[in-house]
């Protein structure tokens, strides 16, 4: 019970922090170039999915830690089980895929900007 309560509190804090991250990432998007925007969008989607996963987890641990809060809803454990399965099967893989896509897009953008040290090394080699 105590462990689930602590985990619930951790989840709540992490949900708030993720929300803040999302907000500031959206604000940061304005300062980036348009080529990076796609990559950033994919990243924001990924963080949004993990935000949803964290909400689901916090609900699960709320039910475990404080069963009286959601006890009024009939068949709540059944619905929470459904949510957990959805998050495990769909949301977490989508989050991973979004990150992968975001990094691929960032790589495409960053290919145009190779490191200066390497250029200098090449010049030295020549």
């Amino acid at each position: 019970m105590a462990l689930s309560q602590t985990i619930f509190s951790i989840d709540i804090i992490s949900v708030i922090l993720l929300l803040a991250t999302l907000v500031f990432l959206v604000k940061n998007r304005e300062f980036e170039r348009s080529e990076v925007e796609n990559s950033m969008n994919a990243l924001i989607f990924g963080i949004f999915f993990i935000f949803l996963v964290m909400i689901v987890n916090s609900l699960v641990y709320l039910q475990k830690g404080y069963p009286n809060v959601l006890g009024g809803i009939s068949n709540i454990e059944k619905y929470l089980g459904y949510l957990v399965t959805i998050s495990n099967i769909a949301l977490i893989p989508l989050f991973a895929v979004c990150f992968l896509v975001g990094i691929f897009l960032a790589r495409d953008y960053l290919k145009e900007f190779p490191k200066l040290e390497k250029k200098e090394d090449k010049v030295e080699k020549l």
Partner: protein, 448 residues
């Protein structure tokens, strides 16, 4: 079960994809200049999100610890993400301000500056000035409205005070009206009670009226019923009388018909008698013939009578013989009776003798019993005698033993005698008889 396996596979896939993306990111970061993306540190940290999923995959960690670790790592990563994103935003804003300032400062000596100011900044400034003027107007309007509202507030306060005073008066009037209402209610209740009593009385009167009306109705109904009954009774009586008359008529008609029938029957019977008389006349004719036949039969009977007379004579003869035989039989019978009496007397004697024999037998039995008792006593005595004999034999055996002892003692005595004689012989010589006498006395005591 299927969902569990799919979720497990998805967890593995997620961890794998995140690890691949991390490798890819660090490779890209190594090859190219990642600082071109302003939030590259956010990218670095987001790829650390693979860690909780890797912890989730590892099965040898206990479930509680692994879940706690996952959530803790997620918290840390989200904290770092938030910090980096906020920091990046601040940096970006600072850079933007710096750029803007640089833009303004660098444009001071530029020839296009005035044109830029005229074309782009001046209309914006005008708009701003207009908006400022509008705002000031709105401010003034708002101040005016505020003043008005303050005045209205004052008026409202005064009105409120008046209203409160009125309320107080009104409350007083309400209290008075309540008391009046209570009095009115009491009076109303009294009036209602009176009304109720009056209405009850009216109801009772109405009920009595209804009862009287009902009684009248019942009386009229009863009268009508009685009249109807009388009518019905009259009609019934008339009907009954008519029926009786009709029945009497019918009965008389039927009786007449029956008498007619009887007369007809009588006529028929008379005719039948006439027929019978005719038949009898005819039968009488037949009877003459029959009388002749009867006479013939009578002659036959006479002959038979003669025969029977002869038979009766024979019968009487036989009867006299039988009487004789009967007298002889009676004689024999008397003899038999005398013999019978004699035999009976003999029987009585025999019975008496038998009785005496029985008595004798009983006496003999008693004597036998006595004898048996005596025999038993004798046997007992014999047994006692035998016992005594056994005891005597024992005593004899003891006596034998004692005799044997005595003989032994006698032998000893004889030996002692010889010794004594020898002693006598010696004493005689020595003159000491006293010891000898003592020895004899001892021997006698032993024998006893």
């Amino acid at each position: 079960m299927a969902f569990d396996t799919i979720s497990l596979i998805q967890g593995y896939l997620t961890a794998l994809v995140l690890v691949i993306s991390a490798f890819l990111w660090y490779k890209v970061k190594g090859e190219s200049d990642a600082t071109k993306i302003k939030i590259n540190r956010v990218y670095n940290v987001t790829l650390l999100l693979a860690l909780p999923f890797i912890v989730k995959i590892i099965r040898f960690i206990p479930e509680n610890i692994s879940s706690f670790l996952q959530h803790l790592i997620l918290l840390l990563i989200s904290f770092v993400l938030a910090v980096f994103s906020i920091q990046a935003y601040r940096n970006n804003i600072a850079d933007r301000r710096k750029d803007l300032k640089e833009l303004i400062e660098s444009a001071k000596g530029h020839p296009i500056r005035l044109e830029f100011a005229r074309e782009t900044v001046a209309p914006e400034l005008k708009k701003l000035i207009q908006s400022r003027a509008d705002l000031e107007k709105e401010k003034k309007f708002l101040e005016y409205k505020q003043k008005k509202l303050a005045d209205l507030d004052k008026k409202l306060k005064t009105r409120e005070q008046k209203i409160e005073e009125e309320k107080k008066q009104h409350s007083k009037t309400i209290a008075e009206s309540k008391t009046l209402e209570n009095e009115i209610k009491k009076r109303e209740s009294e009036i209602q009670s009176k009304d109720n009593s009056v209405s009850r009385k009216l109801d009772e009167i109405k009920r009595e009226k209804q009862r009287l009306e009902e009684a009248r109705k019942k009386q009229t109904e009863k009268e009508a019923e009685v009249e109807q009954e009388i009518k019905q009774f009259r009609e019934a009586e008339i009907k009954r009388v008519k029926d009786d008359v009709a029945n009497y008529r019918n009965k008389t008609v039927e009786k007449l018909k029956e008498r007619e029938k009887e007369l007809d029957e009588w006529e028929i019977e008379i005719e039948q008698y006439e027929k019978r008389l005719k038949d009898r006349e005819e039968t009488y004719k037949d009877l003459d013939n029959r009388s002749r036949e009867i006479l013939r039969d009578f002659e036959k009977l006479k002959r038979q009578e003669i025969k029977t007379k002869a038979d009766t004579i024979e019968f009487e003869n036989k009867k006299s013989e039988l009487k004789k035989q009967a007298s002889s039989f009676e004689n024999e019978r008397a003899q038999f009776e005398s013999e019978k009496n004699r035999i009976l007397s003999l029987d009585e004697r025999a019975n008496k003798a038998l009785e005496s024999v029985k008595r004798g037998r009983e006496r003999l039995k008693e004597k036998e019993e006595r004898l048996l008792l005596l025999e038993d006593e004798l046997e007992k005595k014999n047994r006692e005698i035998q016992r005594n004999l056994g005891e005597l034999n024992k005593e004899r055996a003891e006596l034998g033993k004692q005799e044997a002892r005595v003989t032994k003692d006698m032998g000893e005595v004889a030996l002692d005698k010889t010794e004594l004689e020898e002693m006598k012989a010696t004493r005689k010589k020595k003159n000491k008889p006293i010891n000898f006498i003592h020895k004899i006395k001892d021997v006698i005591g032993r024998v006893k």
